[in-house]
Symmetry: D2
Subunit: 134 residues, 4 copies
């Protein structure tokens, strides 16, 4: 996994952080950005788009918060625990809200089912990392 | 202000939100994105860049969290109070950490002084809007 | 204008670039990001959303390309003319396509009328700066 | 690969695009965003940061253009060939400039070597997709 190689190539000491959990959370954030961007667009192409507007909006927020959190986590130089913690909480919250919205459409739309699965993985990775930061 | 015109042109009911506070916070978030991006780059061009690495990193996080929060706030369709609240908290936190870091360099670098001023305005706008959401 | 103050506070020599045109273009890019994000969301809230899906998608692309181009332009350290030029061209193209799409709905939706106006201003600012780069 | 599943779950007809090439290019864009964000931060943590400022700036531009292009490509609803083409060209250009800069430091810094490799893969994927769009 390219991001694990990058973490290992970083010159800064990574004291106080579990690098496996970190790498998993970064990968989950970037994957979730992409999947939520795709789900928003797939919803937009459905005949029933008028019933999916909250779904789309939730996807857009989640995509934005995931890529931002993935970038914040990727930066290890001069990391601030308050910023990292607040970004992880915002990202996990957006993923949870998005997954709940996805679940309501998961039987009808395969893209919503995939999106729910990826959002839950990302929220768990964020909560897990947040817990390990103490 | 273009964003106030957009808020007024939005078809959704904006019950439960103070539109003046909202417009002010959106404008502050986009301004802060731009200023933090500029301050990171100006720091990078300083001869003393080696002493400014935490400064640069803090700017990059703040720029990312501000534009994401500005976008989340701009979306009014199907807004979720938990996501809005968590994004506002993450943005305000990043602005506060960034402003504190800026202050340490504000006498030497005019770009850090401007950045501290804009970050504080943005953190206040976020905390103010967060408080009004109840 | 905060961004003009930041440009003036930047330690790097800004040879070969017209700083007034640059500041105007940066401001146009950030304004357009916000307006396109707002117009996409306002379209999503319209009863006729099913007829506005191309409109929404065009807005989302334009918002993403504008903020990225605004950030690329804001960075003056080690600027590369090929990257600056290609980003300006992509941003101007997205603004032109978005403005054309907006115009088709501008009589019905005030948010599309505002968005068309802001997109045209941004595409002109990008083409103007691109021309001055030679 | 999650993004291939999303492409297959999309309701829109994907006529005129090679979905394997598309999925590969989207994956390359998101990977490159993450790697360039990481390389910028690793450079910032090096003792020799003062010699790496153009390197860092190039990484930041590349990260921004890659995530934007990845999002533009992920959206299939109402895609516009001019916007797709211009975004692909901007992304490929940023990747090429970044890879060239990386190569100059690849013997000394493993993170620059990895970054050069990922940037070249992404520029090839972009140029390849651009060529297939005709």
């Amino acid at each position: 996994m390219a991001d694990m190689r990058m973490i290992e190539a970083h010159p800064a000491a990574l004291a106080g952080i579990d690098t496996d959990r970190l790498a998993e959370c970064i990968a989950a954030c970037f994957e979730c950005t992409q999947i939520c961007t795709g789900c928003a667009d797939a919803c937009l192409a459905e005949d029933t788009v008028a019933e999916l507007t909250t779904r789309i909006r939730t996807d857009l927020d989640c995509a934005d918060l995931c890529v931002t959190t993935g970038r914040v986590l990727t930066r290890r130089t001069g990391a601030d625990a308050r910023v990292t913690g607040a970004a992880l909480d915002a990202c996990a919250t957006a993923c949870e809200v998005c997954a709940d919205e996805c679940d309501r459409h998961a039987r009808v739309h395969e893209h919503c089912r995939i999106c729910a699965e990826v959002c839950r993985r990302c929220s768990h990775a964020c909560r897990d990392l947040l817990g390990s930061l103490g």
